[in-house]
Symmetry: C2
Subunit: 255 residues, 2 copies
């Protein structure tokens, strides 16, 4: 079910984080960053993420909006055995397909649970929309699934990461996004912003960001440059380094 | 500009996180969780969050979708001095209002910068949509702003938190969402899922979640119950505690 990208355009992606626990502040979502880094390394552009509660209508609406727009949609959360785990049913509803107990999923659960342990709650984890392919995980055995361009994964980070390793090699990979970071310690953003804009304008195809940080030691900004073109990236990074060195000297003279 | 909620319905909110650095995986977003906890404490329901890149079209579309639907929209990121800081312009565009250098914002920046230091890049931080109210922060002096039901804040967590403290008291607060956590150490989710569903069904008005965690010490699940009704919450939590204690004993007998 791996998809080809259209022409030279890299594959795009969105993440749909499902779970009351994120929106209530109980849980710090760390899955988005993990998936973001994973996708950057295989050259898939992550263009949006949404967080919705355990609410079927909210899940269906977000999923249908995202899957119409991006090459892939990765969901996390809501595929466990409890009543608030409604992701599989919501995905089936979004796709307009039936859902039921999948014998392949039951077989996987039987690797972990005895027939007696496989109670109705645990059997819920075998509810898979019709037409979906299972996504295995070695940790809990309860599978995620892949339907259309939507990949449904667990919310527990360790299990989600295991699932990414399973499906990652089958995603339409492109040239990875290369990153250069230029440290701008001690140089305020406002001092280099104009120069940086000129560098960004002069290097189309390089995304140039500036990220300030305030620590007890003072300003420690970073300029982050990202591109699929190694030579262009190096040219932009070199320009940024030269600019920061020059500003550092200038600031040092003043103090 | 504090808003009244309609009848007994609590105020609702969404967060719009703006920044390539989140979607590239460079930066772990921690603002969503902070705002989520803040809103839960003042009784505002956070119902959605979105993360979009530093792209005007993406910001405008998400902002217009969210502001039409929720009492408040909180944005974070993109209000600094560099070329990738485009949030203020995007918000003006979403509202269809003009934007320009705001004398009140310039006055604030002058508390930090001399006239010579206030170069064109830093003056960008004084670009405020017409009709917006400024949101002060004591750390960087560069203001956020409040326009319609949208509150625009910095992305640097320390500054964002300072802004939340400034605007928080003016939000339409309601009864806080109370939380009870029942530890279910050693009891697998699949063993209590059916009982938990019955408890959830018997306590309408209590949101009941189950969050598994796998550590080297084994299973350490948590049941989290949330409600604005203290008595109802306590009743549900007590039922969950009783159920877990009973299952713990049963499991101990088997081993």
């Amino acid at each position: 079910m791996a998809q080809e990208t259209a022409g030279d355009r890299p594959a795009s992606a969105a993440i749909l984080v499902i779970g009351d626990e994120i929106l209530s502040g109980r849980t710090q979502d760390v899955n988005t960053r993990y998936i973001a880094n994973y996708l950057a390394q295989i050259g898939v552009d992550l263009l949006e993420a949404r967080i919705v509660p355990d609410d079927e209508e909210a899940i269906v609406e977000a999923l249908n909006a995202l899957r119409a727009r991006y090459t892939y949609v990765f969901t996390t959360g809501g595929i466990g055995p409890t009543h608030d785990d409604i992701t599989a049913d919501a995905v089936a509803s979004a796709f307009g397909v039936d859902i039921g107990e999948d014998p392949r999923a039951i077989a996987l659960l039987r690797e972990r649970f005895s027939e007696a342990e496989l109670n109705p709650a645990r059997r819920r984890m075998a509810r898979i929309p019709k037409g979906a392919e299972l996504v295995f995980n070695a940790i809990s055995k309860a599978p995620g699934f892949w339907i259309g361009n939507v990949i449904v994964m667990a919310g527990v980070p360790m299990i989600m990461q295991n699932m990414m390793d399973v499906i990652g090699p089958r995603l339409a990979a492109g040239p990875p996004v290369l990153v250069e970071t230029v440290e701008a310690d001690g140089v305020p953003e406002g001092a280099y912003a104009e120069g940086l804009e000129a560098i960004a304008r002069g290097h189309e195809g390089v995304s140039v960001g500036s990220y300030p940080a305030f620590t007890s030691a003072g300003i420690s900004n970073q300029i982050v440059l990202r591109s699929r073109d190694a030579a262009l990236l190096e040219s932009a990074a070199q320009a940024a380094r030269t600019m920061i060195e020059s500003l550092s000297k200038e600031l040092a003279l003043r103090t």
